[in-house]
């Protein structure tokens, strides 16, 4: 359904020295720097799949989405979606896709919400019956009824996001691009939106690409994830696999008589660990150690701690996916390992 091959996107950036002097200097002598926003990315998505696209801020997620939706032209490489090249014949291509940019809106700001839908109906040339059915369906999953007659500018963020999602699907697109669809929303609305996405995916076999910073979105929605960092693809596979590959970590949380006791311990030499297998976080009240349990068993760890420190309280926890991702972003886990 979606084929992305060796896609690159470079931006030219003006380099300026600091301050007024720098600004004046750059008026006469412009220096450019090439930024590789997306650097040689390839992946495929099958029909009906929900792909989670994750990465830190500035990793190149949005740039990639913009290339997939035909807004930006790749510097190099090919994108093919449903047999079409997005930047060629944009008008024909966008009829088949739906897009939500969580930080922007496609709704008509000054008009009642329902007007936006009728505008979209004409733009996409949806016939009356299909439109009625569609609105019924969207109303049901996204609960638009309560505010469908209000001007868009009066909607709350949660309402607006639901409306935006509905607007992106009015023409039953084959592919849906959701760029941070849950940004800034409360838990209830997030759940509502996730349910809607799942339902649409199941009922219509819509292919969905989703970017998000909320890893609960990923856990509930995506079978597969692609992770990029600094424009490069660093992971492509299932969530479970990622947890297995990077996440066999456990975390020990404890309070000690004196937190400084932990400094005296030498895990690296005692257990012959590498630096990346363990990290220690110390505050006045608490110490937390996360470690790779393939290299060091929990029993050994606890025994060692009990013997060498005065523990007031201790607990062992699973490391959640957010921390795995942090770890990857922080480059503490090397992928080539």
């Amino acid at each position: 359904m979606i084929k992305v091959e060796n896609v690159k996107k470079d931006f030219k950036k003006v380099v300026k020295d600091q301050g007024v002097k720098g600004s004046i200097k750059s008026l006469f002598n412009r220096k450019y720097e090439i930024v590789h926003a997306v650097d040689d990315i390839s992946f495929n998505v099958d029909k009906g799949e929900i792909l989670g696209f994750i990465g830190a801020n500035g990793a190149g997620k949005s740039t990639t989405i913009k290339m997939l939706t035909g807004i930006l032209t790749p510097t190099e490489g090919n994108v093919e979606i449903n047999g079409k090249i997005p930047t060629k014949n944009r008008k024909e291509y966008v009829k088949e896709i739906g897009v939500v940019f969580g930080q922007r809106t496609q709704l008509w700001w000054d008009l009642p919400l329902v007007e936006t839908f009728s505008v979209l109906k004409e733009i996409y040339n949806v016939d009356d019956d299909a439109f009625k059915k569609r609105m019924c369906f969207l109303n049901e999953v996204l609960e638009l009824d309560a505010f469908i007659k209000s001007p868009v500018r009066t909607l709350s963020l949660g309402q607006r996001m639901r409306a935006d999602l509905a607007a992106s699907m009015i023409h039953s697109p084959k592919v849906l691009f959701l760029d941070e669809p849950t940004i800034g929303l409360d838990v209830a609305v997030k759940n509502n939106i996730r349910q809607a996405i799942t339902q649409i995916n199941e009922q219509e076999d819509t292919t969905i690409i989703l970017t998000t910073h909320d890893l609960n979105d990923i856990e509930t929605l995506c079978q597969r994830i692609v992770m990029i960092d600094k424009g490069k693809l660093i992971y492509d596979g299932t969530l479970a696999n990622m947890k297995g590959q990077f996440g066999n970590f456990r975390e020990v949380n404890m309070s000690l008589e004196n937190s400084d006791e932990i400094d005296k311990l030498n895990f690296l030499d005692t257990f012959k660990l590498k630096k990346k297998d363990i990290s220690i976080n110390k505050t006045k009240e608490k110490v937390s150690i996360s470690f790779n349990q393939d290299k060091l068993s929990i029993a050994d760890m606890l025994e060692y701690l009990l013997k060498n420190t005065n523990i007031k309280d201790i607990s062992v926890n699973d490391v959640n996916i957010e921390e795995i991702v942090c770890r990857m972003y922080g480059k503490e886990v090397s992928v080539n390992d």
């Binding site: 931006f11 949005s62 913009k66 939706t69 035909g70 807004i71 930006l72 032209t73 944009r90 008008k91 024909e92 966008v94 009829k95 896709i97 897009v99 940019f101 930080q103 922007r104 809106t105 496609q106 008509w108 000054d110 008009l111 007007e115 009728s118 505008v119 004409e122 733009i123 996409y124 040339n125 001007p151």
Partner: protein, 275 residues
């Protein structure tokens, strides 16, 4: 024909939405009208003083009645052909919201244009028609006969439509500059001043010295305000009218082509800022 019908069907909602948006900001609109009317009266009194001090009844073929009609008519035309396309386009490029237009199966320029038409419809009914009626009454009172000519009015309307389209594309081209400059505030102020002067909205081009006037009349700016106003006032012969309309059409084609060309180039340069 069916293709045209389809296009109209797609863009009709834009016009409707534009009209509704314009109505949502009625108060804004009212104050705008009051402000602009004041400006017209200021111009009118200035010209009156000029004529009074000149001691002559006509100046370069314009009587005081002519200049009064010119002041109000040219300003009405100025509103009708005025367009936000520079600012809208530049803003959308600057804040990146142009991408919301690009993900829809519509032409960027057509969607902007048809949206603005909604605003124009409101303007025609709320300002244009009342002022035209007022001007005709004024002419009737002064001249003692009905000066209205339906034929001139139709040619005038055609000329205004061409002038508006020309103005839209000219301004759109300025808007596209934002792709290269990212902030075009200074440019658009300069552009406004030049347009006001060269289009005849401030001073009739007929008042300029012969050579300057001959050049100015050929420039695209004259097609914006001066041409339709002169047609309505019956200052041009039939041949001159046809020539004027032809000029407008040629300039319009030139500007549409330039704007299409820039859009194709600019699209490749598009760097969406933020988000």
């Amino acid at each position: 024909m069916t293709k045209l019908k389809k296009i109209l069907k797609i863009y009709k909602p834009f016009t409707k939405a534009g009209l509704q948006s314009a109505m949502a900001y009625r108060t804004n609109f009212t104050f705008f009208v009051i402000g602009e009317s004041l400006y017209c009266f200021v111009l009118y009194f200035i010209w009156k003083a000029v004529f009074a001090s000149g001691g002559s009844n006509t100046f370069m073929g314009f009587s005081i009645t002519d200049i009064t009609v010119y002041v109000f008519l040219s300003n009405i035309v100025k509103f009708l052909i005025d367009t936000d396309s520079t600012v809208s386009m530049a803003e959308e490029i600057k804040d990146g919201s142009i991408i919301m237009r690009m993900i829809k199966p519509v032409n960027i320029d057509h969607s902007l244009l048809t949206f603005e038409l909604g605003n124009k419809i409101m303007m025609i009914f709320c300002i244009f028609l009342p002022v035209m009626l007022g001007l005709e009454i004024y002419r009737y009172v002064i001249l003692g006969k009905i000066a209205f000519n339906i034929f001139s009015f139709l040619l005038f309307s055609l000329s205004v439509v061409l002038g508006y389209l020309l103005s839209f594309y000219l301004n759109l081209i300025f808007g596209y500059l934002a792709f290269f400059l990212l902030n075009i505030w200074g440019f658009s102020i300069l552009k406004g001043a030049i347009l006001n002067f060269l289009s005849g909205a401030t001073i009739p081009l007929a008042f300029f010295p012969g050579a300057v006037r001959a050049v100015l009349e050929q420039l695209p700016f004259a097609s914006l305000v001066y041409a339709p106003t002169m047609i309505y006032m019956g200052k041009l012969s039939t041949n001159q009218i046809l020539f004027t309309l032809l000029k407008q059409i040629i300039w319009l084609i030139v500007f549409v082509l330039i704007s299409d060309f820039i859009w194709i180039k600019a699209q490749k340069r598009l760097e969406v800022q933020g988000g």
